[in-house]
Symmetry: C2
Subunit: 126 residues, 2 copies
DNA sequence: CACGAGATACGATTAGATTCGTATAACAAC
DNA sequence: GTTGTTATACGAATCTAATCGTATCTCGTG
C-alpha cells in the first residue's frame, strides 16, 4: 500500500529501526531499544532521537496518547523494499529492473529459490 | 572478478562518476566533467575532488604519467552491482537474495524481461 | 624567459547523519 | 507533597558527504 509521503529514503540507522518496528509491531522507544540492544550497543536517547527525526520526516507515525509514545512505520515493509529497489535500479542499473534481478541471481541461488522465482514469473506471465 | 580492496561502498556522487567511467572508459577529470555536464550542473573542481577522494578510497586507480591524470574504476560494474545488491539484501531483506528478487519483479516486468530471467534461471539450474 | 591556458592540490563551507549528555516533565508510591 | 523512576525534549559534538574558491604548478608557444 503506497503512502501519502513522497519517497523519503530512510538512512541506514533509520532502516535498522524500521526493521525492528516491522518485526515487533508498534512499539515504545523502550521496546525498540530493548530489541536493538540484543544485537548492538546503542544508547536509549539515540534511539529516541532517531525515532523523533523519523517522525519529523513522516517515516513513522506515533501515538502520543500515553506518556510513552508508541511508534509505527508509516509505510509497509513491502512498499519500502520496493522503493529501495527502484532507487538502486535507477542509480546502478540504468533503471533496468531486469538487469538488477539477473545480477542478483548467481550460483549461490538454491534450487528452492529458483523454484519460487519461477513460480512468481509464471503468475506474472498470465 | 573480485578485487583487492575491502567492500567499499561508493556514495551517491561517487556512483555517478563510476557510471560515467564504466561507460566511457578511463578518462581525465575534464572528460568526466564534460560527460556529467550533459545531464547536471557540477563544478569542475567538484568532480576533481570527488575523484581524488575515490582514489584515496581505492575506488578508482589513476595514471599520473601525464599532466592530466587518467582515472579508471578499480572494480568492474558487474562486481560493484553485485556488492550493492548484497548490501541491500542484508539491510532490507534479512539477507535473502531471493526475497529481493521477488520483490523487484512485478506487473511492470515485460514479457521479454520475464523470458530473459527464465533463461538465466535455466542456466543456473543445470 | 615570460605568459596564459589548463591542470592538481588544498582548505573552507554547508548540510545531513549519528551519537549522547543533560534538562525537564509525568507519574506512582510512600 | 516529596522522592525516585522513567518518559520526552533539546542542544552539542562528531563525522561524512558534497561543493567550490583559491592557490599553485606545468607546459606549450611566442
Amino acid at each position: 500500500m503506497a503512502r501519502d509521503n513522497c519517497n523519503i529514503k530512510p538512512t541506514e540507522a533509520e532502516l535498522t529501526l524500521l526493521n525492528i518496528l516491522w518485526k515487533i509491531g508498534p512499539a515504545t522507544v523502550r521496546q525498540v531499544h530493548d530489541a536493538i540492544s540484543k544485537t548492538q550497543k546503542t544508547g536509549y536517547t539515540t534511539v529516541l532521537k532517531i525515532l523523533q527525526i523519523m517522525h519529523g520526516k513522516t517515516l513513522v507515525i506515533r501515538d502520543e496518547s500515553n506518556r510513552a509514545h508508541v511508534y509505527a512505520p508509516s509505510n509497509s515493509e513491502t512498499y519500502t523494499q520496493s522503493s529501495l529497489l527502484k532507487d538502486l535500479a535507477t542509480k546502478a542499473f540504468g533503471g533496468s529492473t531486469s538487469k538488477l534481478v539477473m545480477r542478483a541471481l548467481d550460483e549461490s541461488t538454491s534450487k528452492e529459490e529458483i523454484a519460487d522465482i519461477r513460480q512468481l514469473l509464471n503468475e506474472l506471465d498470465k
